[in-house]
């Protein structure tokens, strides 16, 4: 009898301790910790924390995103389902909706590009619609910029929609009300597509120059863009004053680079009035 009582007492004590330990940090902390772990791309830890708060928007978001981006790619459909519910639920906080929509839309778009791999799973959602909706929810925001970036590239590459897409692109730049610093990646894309699809160097250089003036985030991109500006003005547009301006600027900023010797030579050639090929 005495032994049984001892066993019961120990079991009760152990259970209380376990329950106490199990509550752990409160749900708000777990939520933030899950988001933090995800921001560091520690999917294993993020998932572990998300599982503790499965019925919260943050928990669902982190769980869904981990399923999508985890390198094993085993639970993509599950992740997309979770994010789709989050995105379509109007009660979900806006920031969460935007990220859910962006991730869902972009991954669906990528799956459609590899139909051979994903088969019918790629057709479960309409990325055009999803990304379009993201744009409408937060015009001028980073999410709007990202969604537009993914959509416009696809439309530009489609011969049937290309002309309209270029017009849409120009309209976007004209009407953009958000932070100017968000535009340089789009300007780089514009430069690339104007050259690739139309060999329209004037428009390409215009966008590149705007992006350069606003400032690229990546310093290497800045360097490359500056040389490109000089080169395109020189060799494609035959605009000597602008070419000289940018070559000089390049030499001032990057005298040790490999292209510096080329910039000097081209500058000399321009000075001697040599016609570019």
């Amino acid at each position: 009898m005495k032994d049984s009582l001892w066993i019961l007492a120990v079991t009760l004590a152990g259970t209380s301790l376990a329950l106490g330990a199990g509550t752990g940090p409160n749900r708000k902390d777990a939520s933030h910790a899950a988001l933090e772990a995800y921001a560091e791309m520690d999917y294993a830890q993020a998932e572990k924390l998300a599982v503790k708060i499965p019925d919260t928007p943050n928990g669902k978001l982190v769980g869904g995103l981990c399923d999508l981006y985890d390198r094993s790619h085993q639970n993509i459909e599950r992740g997309q389902k979770t994010l789709s519910h989050l995105f379509n639920d109007e009660k979900t906080p806006l920031e969460i909706r935007l990220e859910a929509g962006l991730a869902l839309g972009r991954t669906v778009q990528l799956m459609k590009q590899r139909h051979d791999l994903y088969g019918k799973s790629a057709d479960l959602y309409n990325h055009d619609e999803i990304l379009g909706k993201v744009r409408k929810l937060a015009p001028g925001s980073r999410a709007d910029r990202d969604a537009f970036f993914y959509l416009i590239r696809e439309r530009l590459e489609d011969p049937k929609r290309s002309d309209a897409a270029f017009k849409e692109l120009e309209e976007y730049f004209r009407n953009f009300k958000g932070e100017k610093k968000l535009l340089p990646p789009l300007q780089l894309l514009a430069e690339y597509e104007y050259i690739r699809l139309r060999r329209d160097y004037k428009s390409a250089v215009r966008h590149l120059a705007e992006g350069y003036e606003t400032g690229f985030a990546n310093p290497s991109q800045t360097r490359s863009a500056l040389f490109r500006l000089a080169f395109l003005y020189d060799r494609k547009l035959h605009n000597k004053p602008m070419a000289v301006k940018y070559y000089k600027e390049y030499l001032e900023r990057y005298p040790y680079s490999g292209e510096a010797v080329v910039a000097k030579r081209f500058l000399n050639d321009l000075g001697k009035g040599k016609a570019a090929k």
């Binding site: 970036f149 985030a217 991109q221 060799r235």
Partner: protein
Amino acid sequence: MKKKGTDDIHQGGKFQKLGIILAVVFYIVSVIMVIRNYGGVSTVFDPGEKMLTIAHWQLEDGFREGIDEAISEYEKTKAKQGVKVKVRQVAIPVRGYPQWFLTQLIGGDPADVIELMGSPDILNQYFSPLSPYISQKNPWNKGTPIQNMSWRETFTDDMLGGLDPAYSEYFGVSTFMHTTRVYVNLDLYEKATGTKQLPDTVTEWLDSCKKMREYGVKTNRPVIPIGVRGFDKGTLGQLFNTYNSQLNTDLADVGTPYSYGTSVGDMYHQVNTGKLDVKRLLEPVKVVTTLGQYFAEGFPAIDLEQTKYLFFSGNVGFFIDGTWNAFSMINNAPFKVGVMQIPMLSNRNPFGLKSYGRITELGSGIGGMFGIPKKTKNFDLALDFLQFLTSWKVNQMVMVKHCKWMSPLKGVKYEGVMKTFEPVSNTSHTAVFSPFFSGALGTRLTLQRLENSIIERPKKTMEYFWNDYLSVRPKLIDEVEESSRGIQRNLWSIDGSRSALAVGSAISRPNSRAGALYRLRSNINLEGIIGRFRAIDANTEMIEEMKKLKEYGENGN
């Protein structure tokens, strides 16, 4: 009858005791070695002392000694700052390094500062991005000529070499710079050619090689005019790229539709449309196969160590290698060793080819990328140590003083033989890459074909090479297709990074530095995607054009 049992048991007992004693001794030795390797008794028994590990695969003379001196300096300086730290150096041979590196990362307990090797996906998954830190000044540069520059700007290439093109992220920083030079056995050279003046052009070089060979025959010595590391085809690649650039650098002036430079697809498009004669792309083959007649017999099977041995035995006239072996080449040779640049192709060359002369080496040859894994327990200290290693004073101490290597930093002055290692900068042309090097497999197959050309010595070298190259076209196309699939997969991972950065930005406090860094990296991420689009489009073009290439002579070449 003799009772065997007792003696046997007694004998068995002795052996058992011996076995137990040996086992105990080995166990104690193992424990001592583990403690020693872990950093010594102080680290085990003083948890306040932090332990850092730096791992690399540089076994060349001087490197480990240089790092040891840097470690000693660092530990002393940090001790004065009240930080107890011990740094351990681990050097792994290069042949086993890729496997060791991956195992360490997957195992979850990698070195804190580790030399990078591997695909962009590996780097993105396991290494901390350094872009948040490269725009800040390196605190260890205080009092030096580069103290006012950001960490990125202190490098001669503005850290371009550390930029991963797939993720537009900096996962590592470089610690040294190399160029390729020719080491000369001055005694042999003088005896064979009768002059001390080293060759500056290919014509002079071929002439001195011929004289060396004749000298060998005259004196009954197996003289090898040009020693190369044939086993990994390193030298072959270097020579080919050097002469390709000297012959075809003007192709970069015309540029691609997008920018200065060349692209494989664009060059093959020009060949297919008749705008570019394929002969131009094959001219370096002629040059290298001619030089190849002066390589060691059986050079494909000779590795670096064997070539060095041959050089030290006094039978090799010229040895082409990087400056990473300068220390051992110059110090260990029993004769006087000279250093010269790879002779250039002047316009009065025996092939009748137009050459643009020497090409700039600025911005190239930067290597020794070290990064910090995400799983490190001491990120701040690891970053601090990395900044210490790449600071103006310490980097020169390790690289210039110990290894006789060049530093990747700006403002470093070289003296003596190291002046010959300095990158060529007084030219006006840059290197261009050959379309034959379309990928890792493409490079390997191309160099194999080049090797075949040297060994077989066909009458029509260029035609032989080109047709041999086209015979492996399916494999090259296969590789490019695989590369495109890889880039597609990259795009998914890049979007994963985008998403993580977006979440990071959302949870950061407004106007906080962390938030600003997340937004910066977000923009870097998106800017980098255009590079991936370009790569996929370039691969598609490359495949289309490769399929249309014709055998030599079929399209009027």
